[in-house]
Assembly symmetry: C2
Homo-oligomer: 665 residues x 2
């Protein structure tokens, strides 16, 4: 029994009469590291799922017998990393043009066997929508994880790097959902992490990079923009200073010699106290391009985060708007970035709230490589205590129509490269893992981990399809019990939203920890995060009469957001300061909506906790009990949110609940 679970790669026995599997490899070298992993996974998977022995046949060899005959075959017509899985009777074919595609196809095959969907006459072709499908770890080298809710880092301990069987299992999980890039350290690069690009760590990094390479994953590092100062002893890190550039050139030569498989660097500059080009009066493009030019000879990428804003704002200042910052800083530089630079843009203009509009930078930029950043670490969305399946949120984002051109203008079109023909683009998630036994704190939070990867690969999948896939592989349940979990997952985001911040306003969380309510917690702070509630109403006027943020969108969206009566109601308070007496489309007043949604949200949280109880005895006890405990904590949290928000607005507005429910005074 290992110290960690196998998540959705449980490979529990399914009922099936196949008891042997013959595997032939055609067109790929059996010595290839990825093909080796593929074979090993086939053996492991079929052993578990079918209790079947796997015979690996020499190329051209034949061993057809009673069993299933699986051919892994090169087929150059399939796009890179894509695959086709097909079955005719006892013959199964996994075709791909490259090893990664073959590996992904293999995981697909095992998934189909697991779910009983590999019919006698089956064919499915899949090619990834996004070129880059990445995980961003916010792991620190002391073993802590910034915004981590699942224990400590499994990459680092006491400023040393760990590479062990868990690293390999991690890589297997990532490959099984199509992840092809992993940034292994926190974007806030400090202390020991600044030394990851020195020979202090090269040996261990190489070891880790090799494990990842076995599964087709490229390793990336977050970079400290001030490295020339901190490591090089220089006085500046000005990106236009020739000595600084020289320092980076020497450094990158050293790094890519030691770590040839490294994919490149992720950089958070000029943000929340991090150093950056602004210090020297340079633009974000100056900073990114300098690094991009330096890594270009090695064919590497610079992924540059757009999370730049004034984090020492004065709450008294109603003109400055944090939501505007990304667009204001980056829009004018569109087209200035070099080809191997990618701007990584958070899904919303603020910071991973339960509801935000889509960032106007996405599609606002048309001549720049773009990558979407989402967060499956549930920083503001329940911290893996509260259930919050985030795929519906991500679907809304990628399906969002930006109007950046006539067709192919959704976020999905942009990040996939379909809109503007980019090849360096894609999607990244701040990951939700740690060294907890179950990897993700709440067992059900693994649905976000699984779901992100699947969605990144295939953006046409629905939130429900993904949820069902995950449930089928994680537990062994009758259809009606599967439905229970799928429905819990699908409803969870709406429930969480209802008992927390109303109608897109966000931020009513406990400062620093970001868990639990504190309606005024960020109201008078320096972070640019305000709700502006007074005795008459609440919300931030971001229309053209307010901060003007709404006008950063293309006209079709701008005109919708700009007017209170046209604005989608779920974003009403993000865009407008609205009186409590304002009537929503269903006739309810805003204040009544606040009360109703909070009572409903809490009550529905209790309902899904009750749904979980129905699965007692059907889910393994350890998993059942872990999740049950999380629901108990979620209900406590939901009650706090309900009561604090309701009391806050009752005290402030003086307007009673029409239905006379208990609001504390």
């Amino acid at each position: 029994m290992s110290d960690w679970t196998q998540l959705w790669l449980n490979y529990r026995k399914v009922s099936c009469d196949i008891n042997s599997v013959n595997v032939s490899i055609e067109g790929f070298s059996c010595d290839n590291r990825i093909i080796k992993s593929l074979i090993s996974e086939l053996e492991r998977g079929f052993k578990g799922l079918l209790d079947a022995d796997v015979n690996i046949l020499a190329e051209g060899g034949s061993g057809k017998a009673d069993g299933l005959n699986v051919a892994i075959k090169k087929e150059t017509s399939i796009l890179a990393e894509g695959y086709r899985v097909s079955r005719k009777g006892s013959d199964v074919l996994v075709e791909a043009s490259d090893e990664r595609g073959a590996l992904y196809g293999t995981y697909h095959l095992l998934r189909m066997v697991n779910s009983g969907e590999l019919s006698d006459d089956y064919e499915k072709k899949c090619e990834p929508d996004n070129p880059l499908r990445m995980m961003n770890h916010w792991d620190n080298m002391d073993g802590s994880i910034e915004r981590g809710y699942s224990g400590r880092s499994f990459f680092y301990k006491n400023n040393e790097i760990t590479v062990d069987e868990r690293t390999r299992d991690y890589a297997r999980f990532m490959a099984s959902i199509g992840i092809n890039g992993v940034v292994i350290n926190n974007v806030n690069v400090k202390d020991a992490a600044s030394y990851l690009i020195t020979d202090r760590y090269f040996d261990k990094l190489k070891e880790m990079s090799d494990v990842f390479a076995d599964y087709g994953i490229k390793m990336y590092l977050s970079l400290n923009f001030a490295s020339p100062i901190e490591l090089g002893g220089m006085e500046v890190c000005d990106p236009l200073d020739p000595d600084v550039i020289k320092w980076w050139e020497d450094k990158c030569k050293e790094v890519f010699t030691a770590l040839p498989d490294l994919g490149g660097f992720l950089v958070k500059a000029d943000s929340e106290g991090r150093p950056g080009p602004f210090t020297y009066g340079r633009t974000q493009a100056d900073g990114a391009n300098m690094l991009a030019d330096v890594v270009k000879p090695y064919d590497k990428l610079i992924i540059w985060r757009c999370f730049v804003y004034n984090c020492t704002q004065d709450w008294r200042d109603t003109k400055t708007d944090r939501a505007r910052a990304g667009y204001d800083y980056f829009k004018d530089l569109d087209g200035k970035y070099h080809e191997n630079v990618i701007l990584q843009i958070k899904n919303g203009p603020m910071d991973f709230q339960i509801r935000e509009p889509v960032s106007p930078l996405l599609g606002g930029l048309t001549k720049t490589n773009q990558m979407l950043e989402v967060q499956i670490a549930q920083e503001y969305t329940g911290q893996q205590i509260d259930l919050c399946y985030l795929i519906p949120l991500f679907k809304e984002v990628i399906d969002f129509k930006t109007y950046c051109q006539k067709e192919k203008d959704t976020v999905a079109d942009i990040i996939s490269g379909r809109a503007f023909g980019n090849k360096n683009c894609g999607i990244a998630a701040v990951i939700n893992t740690g060294n907890d036994l179950n990897w993700t704190g709440n067992d059900l939070a693994a649905a976000n981990l699984y779901g992100f990867g699947r969605l990144a690969f295939d953006m046409s999948l629905s939130a429900e399809e993904i949820a069902r896939e995950w449930v089928k592989q994680t537990y062994t349940l009758e259809k009606e019990d599967e439905d229970i979990i799928v429905n819990m997952l699908l409803n969870s985001r709406e429930i969480y939203e209802k008992y927390t911040c109303p109608l897109g306003i966000g931020w009513m969380v406990t400062p620093n920890t970001h868990y639990g309510p504190s309606v005024d917690g960020y109201e008078y702070s320096r972070w640019g995060t305000y709700h502006r509630a007074d005795h008459l109403g609440l919300g931030v006027d971001r229309s053209d009469k307010g901060t003007g943020y709404a006008m950063q969108y293309y006209p079709e969206n701008a005109s919708k957001y700009n007017e209170m009566d046209k604005c989608p109601e779920e974003l009403l308070l993000f865009f407008h300061h609205v009186p409590y007496s304002y009537r929503l489309k269903d006739g309810r007043t805003l204040i009544q909506y606040i009360y109703d949604s909070h009572f409903e949200g809490e009550s529905r949280a209790e309902e899904i906790a009750g749904d979980w109880e129905k699965l007692k005895g059907k889910i393994p006890d350890d998993s059942f009990n872990r999740v049950k405990n999380r629901f108990e904590r979620q209900i406590y949290n939901a009650k706090e949110w309900r009561d604090q928000v309701n009391t806050y607005f009752y005290r402030k507005s003086g307007i009673a609940d029409e239905k006379g429910r208990k609001i504390y005074e």
Copy 2:
């Protein structure tokens, strides 16, 4: 140049034509450790003040010459620790019945020389009002200080004890203001501090205790009530368990053999997560008396803190009242405590807010030894950034008439022993020192350090007299400049109160740090600290119609506090939930008072900062600049308080400022 200042023992040269001093010691042994310190201080003091050599004469010897002839003489009619200082021409007499008194008299003499008040015909007799005059350090052994605002501990570093010249200077300062007891470790006894009562630390503790003894100071330790478990490996620390008692007996034998001068123990039990007798269904008296009986054979004290309350309260619960807790837990046990137990009671029922009523336990208990606890560490009163001279607050507390009997019923009467004839009683302060160069962060905060000691010794001194004494010894200024500082000090508490929490409500501080405003920061918390503001008014109803707290006082006070119209206005919101439209005695509405006081408080903070500027060139530059910097920070803080509180109540009430000043929306 040492790494620390000499505070009020600067001994700067005064203008005076005495250039030699002859000292004779009569009735005391020159070998006594305290007398040795006394002689050393006389030499140091007169060298500095007069540039005079000091001749120590043998007993009965005579060396009368041009100089001042100082006789330190035993006089048994003076009460313990008291002294009489007198001068006739060139003959000065310091009389005392014990060495401590002689030492205190010596410091008095030097003070009078320093201030030019030792006239040719001078006589002053002083006997201490309080038997125990203590400092409580909240220093942790890792070198941090809980609620410390002046750097790190000068007692501990990396879990080791430091005894050096700074320890001796500290002891000198304490003796110079009459302190006779020091608790050297945080009341929250954890980690290494639990081992202070083991031989790991005895040698160093003895060394420190010896330095203190040289200055007549007894060392005390804070005790971990769970020591039998944590050190002894026992399963319980039940105070009635014979094995536990035996463990303590053995432990105390060991401790007092190694540290015979130790004065006893301070205990925080059953509070804020600390273990205590409640765990075993025992009373606070059971816990305190057990320890008291164990230390009795060594003639030691148990000082037992009364800071016991429910710190996991539900904000929805308006019946439970933290203010009631001390009285509720301790009043019924009055008379049950053994003679060598002292209950240490914070000045107010909450926790060192800028304004609270006096704790009803003080005088509520009539058959129990009582010690008043105040806090000169400015946790809630500006953290030694904002100027807040606390002696006026302490004066209000000790002058408070409790009505516990017909006469001698003030808090001063109770803690001095005058009211009920106790000898184990007195006053303690949570100290404001650290290893900063200037000891107290803000140079002016040393006035609280000095002032507490002086007040503890002589409760008849006025806040102004103490302020003036401190200024005279700390700086060398003309009378008009002295007046500037004295007035700054005397006004500072009122100013701080005006720009922070209105009318006794307290707690509108940033959670955890306790610096700066956060009106709702503690409003929905577990700490029992609420203001209950809604759109109509604010304040906590603690009358007989509310929590009933007001009724814990004797009838004369209870009836006053119980009625909104009779309640002292500075405590109005502590005792009553008051409409914003309520008219105060001067005709202003409550809401207008809130606006007015916040504008006035901030404006007056700027005024005293301006007053300090007038002293440029008259105060040593280093001290001047340090204080100037603090005032800049204070003004920033005062503006935040002003604007956040005004905006909060404007938003909530919707009532505009009558004077049309800027309130942010």
